[in-house]
Amino acid sequence: MKIPKELKYAKTHEWIKVEKEIGTAGITDYAQEQLTDVVFVELPQIGKVVSKGEAVAVVESVKSVSDIYAPASGEMVEVNKALENKPGLINEEPYGKGWIFKIKIKNPKELDSLLSAEEYEKSIKEGEK
C-alpha cells in the first residue's frame, strides 16, 4: 500500500497535492483497494464552490459506492475527464492519472488540519481494529 510522503490526506481517504493555490485531489491507494475495481465516477461540476468535508464526487465499484469529500474549501477548476471512459485509472494510478479534481484553495490554513502520510497510515491502522 502506497502512501506518498509529499501528499496531505483526509481521514476519509482523499489525498491532495497543492501547487500554488491549486490543489489536485483523488483517493488513496488504500481506498481504491477497499473499493475494488472502480466502474464509474461521478465528477464534480466545474465552477462549483464547495466547503471542506462536502461530498463532491462519487466513486462506484461493482459492490460498493463511496462519496468523495472535498479535502479543502474552494472552487472546482478542473475535473479528470479521462475517468469517464477509463474509471479503472483510479485503481491503476490512484496518485497519478487517477486524480479526480482540481480545486482552487480558498483558505490555505485549512490544509494544516489534514494528515501527514504517517498520520494517515496510523489512522488506517486504527480504523481496521
Binding site: 464509474f40 462506484e60 465499484s61 461493482v62 459492490k63 460498493s64 459506492v65
Partner: protein, 446 residues
C-alpha cells in the same frame, strides 16, 4: 405434513447431534412470556382434496371473463393469451428461482430479462429499460421521483386524464417525499394545453401525461412536449394500454424523457388487478438515475457471452439511503410472460392486435352512438376506449349484468362531473356478434 420431509426419526437424530432434548430448547432465547401457549386461532389444515374443493367453491363466487362478455377496460385489459405462455410459464426452473444473484446459475432468466429490456426499448423508442416495476401506477410514481432527483425541482404537473388510480398512487408517493402535485384539467377529453402553459414554472420537475389517456383519447403529445421542455421540465409519458404501441408512434420519437407503463395487456391474465408489471424506460443520459434491476450483457473468462445484474450501485443494498429507489423484487415472471407474448406476436401480430382493438372499438362506438339515448362525449381521436353519455349509467350496467355482460365503467366514480358517462372498451376478444348483441340490449334500454 406433506411439505416437511423430516421424519420423527430425522428430528431425533438432529436433536441428538445438537445435544438437546427437544425442539423447544432452540427457542430458549425467546422470553417465556412471548412463547405462544396455544395454537393460533386459524382454520385447521386441509388435505389437498379438501383444499381444492374449498378454493374452487370460493373461486366460483366470482364472475370471470370466460363466462361473461366484457366491455370494461380502464387499466386492466382482456386480451388473448396464447397457450404457449401459461405452458412456458409453468417451467418451474423459472418460477421457483429467486432474483438472479448468482448469474452463472441464472442465465435463462437473465437472458429473458435482457430480451425484455430490448423489447421495451423498441416499443417505446427509448434507449434503456429496466427489468420491470410493480405496476404501471407505481412506475409512474417512481418516474416522478426520478425526475425530482434529476432536476432538483419539487413540483410535478399531472393531467387529470391520467388513470385516477395512477394519480392516487402518485399522490401518495409525492406526499411521502414532500413533493407538490398540480393537476391540469381536460378539454374535450384531452389535457388542456392552455392550463398547462399557465401552470408550468421553474419549479416543475416534470409533466406527466397518459397516452392514450384514461378516456381512450390521444393526447397532443408533440405540443405538451414542447411546453414541458421549453420550461426545462422532464416529459413523462405513461402507457396504460400498451397494445396501442403496435400502431402508435413511440413516445421516444416524440421527445419523452421517461416512458412508463403497464404491461398486463402483454400475455398476463387480468387476475382481479394483479400481479401485473410496470415497465420503465429512459434516455441513455439518465441511465444511472433509473430505479430497479438492470441486466447487462458481458463475457466470461473464455469470452462466452452471458448476462448479469449490473449498475447495482444505484440500488438499495449498496447505496442504502441514497439509492434511486427501495425497489428490489419486481415482477420478473410477468415480464417473462410479456416477453414471450411480444416475440410470439412479432411485428405483424402486435400490429394486428392493435388494429383489431381499434376497429372493434370504433365499430362499437359508431353503433352505440346511433342509439338516441347515447351520445358521444368527446370528439378527440381514440384507440380502443371511448366515452358516451347516457341517461342512467347504473341502469345500463344493471341490465347488461343480467345478460352476462360486464359493462362499461361508470365514470362518476372517479369524475363527479361525468355523471352518466360510460367508458367502453373493446379488444380483439370482442366478436362482432358480441358487439351487436351489446348494441341490441342498449337499444332496448329506455
Amino acid at each position: 405434513m406433506r411439505f416437511i420431509p423430516n421424519t420423527d426419526q430425522d428430528r431425533k437424530e438432529i436433536l441428538e447431534f445438537l445435544g438437546i432434548k427437544s425442539i423447544k430448547e432452540l427457542f430458549k432465547n425467546i422470553p417465556e412470556e412471548l412463547l405462544l401457549k396455544k395454537n393460533l386461532k386459524i382454520p385447521k389444515g386441509f388435505s389437498e382434496i379438501e383444499l381444492v374443493r374449498e378454493m374452487r367453491f370460493l373461486s366460483e363466487k366470482n364472475a370471470d371473463l370466460e363466462h361473461y362478455s366484457c366491455f370494461l377496460g380502464a387499466g386492466a385489459y382482456h386480451h388473448f393469451i396464447p397457450a404457449i405462455i401459461p405452458h412456458l410459464m409453468g417451467r418451474s426452473e423459472f418460477y421457483t428461482s429467486y432474483t438472479p444473484y448468482q448469474p452463472e446459475a441464472s442465465q435463462g432468466l437473465l437472458q429473458t430479462i435482457y430480451e425484455f429490456q430490448t423489447l421495451i426499448c423498441e416499443l417505446t423508442g427509448m434507449d434503456v429499460a429496466n427489468a420491470s416495476m410493480y405496476d404501471g401506477a407505481s412506475a409512474l410514481a417512481e418516474a416522478m421521483i426520478m425526475a425530482f432527483h434529476i432536476t432538483g425541482r419539487k413540483e410535478v404537473i399531472i393531467s387529470r386524464t391520467i388513470h385516477p388510480e395512477y394519480r392516487e398512487v402518485v399522490k401518495t408517493y409525492a406526499q411521502a417525499k414532500n413533493l407538490k402535485i398540480i393537476e391540469i384539467e381536460y378539454e374535450n377529453g384531452i389535457t388542456s394545453l392552455e392550463e398547462l402553459k399557465r401552470k408550468v414554472s421553474d419549479k416543475t420537475a416534470a409533466v406527466l401525461i397518459q397516452n392514450p389517456n384514461f378516456f381512450g383519447s390521444l393526447e397532443d403529445i408533440k405540443e405538451i412536449e414542447r411546453i414541458a421542455h421549453k420550461n426545462k421540465s422532464l416529459f413523462i409519458v405513461a402507457i396504460v394500454e400498451p397494445t396501442s404501441l403496435g400502431l402508435l408512434k413511440p413516445p421516444g420519437e416524440l421527445g419523452a424523457d421517461i416512458v412508463v407503463g403497464e404491461g398486463q395487456s402483454f400475455g398476463n391474465p387480468i387476475s382481479f388487478g394483479g400481479p401485473y408489471l410496470g415497465f420503465m424506460a429512459t434516455k441513455d443520459k439518465y441511465m444511472r438515475k433509473l430505479p430497479g434491476r438492470l441486466v447487462g450483457a458481458t463475457k466470461d473468462s473464455k469470452g462466452r457471452r452471458g448476462y448479469i445484474l449490473t449498475l447495482q450501485a444505484r440500488e438499495q443494498h449498496i447505496r442504502r439511503e441514497k439509492a434511486t429507489s427501495n425497489i428490489c423484487t419486481n415482477e420478473a415472471l410477468c415480464a417473462l410472460a410479456a416477453t414471450i407474448y411480444l416475440v410470439s406476436l412479432g411485428k405483424e401480430g402486435l400490429r394486428r392486435v392493435a388494429e383489431l382493438s381499434l376497429q372493434k372499438a370504433h365499430y362499437a362506438f359508431e353503433k352505440i352512438k346511433e342509439i338516441d339515448e347515447f351520445e358521444a362525449a368527446f370528439a378527440s381521436p381514440f384507440y380502443n376506449e371511448f366515452i358516451v353519455e347516457c341517461r342512467d349509467a347504473q341502469g345500463v350496467n344493471r341490465v347488461l349484468l343480467k345478460e352476462k355482460i360486464i359493462g362499461p365503467l361508470e365514470l362518476e366514480k372517479y369524475y363527479p362531473e361525468l355523471k352518466n358517462h360510460l367508458l367502453f372498451c373493446a379488444t380483439e376478444m370482442n366478436s362482432k356478434e358480441e358487439i351487436d348483441g351489446l348494441v341490441n340490449i342498449l337499444r332496448k334500454i329506455k
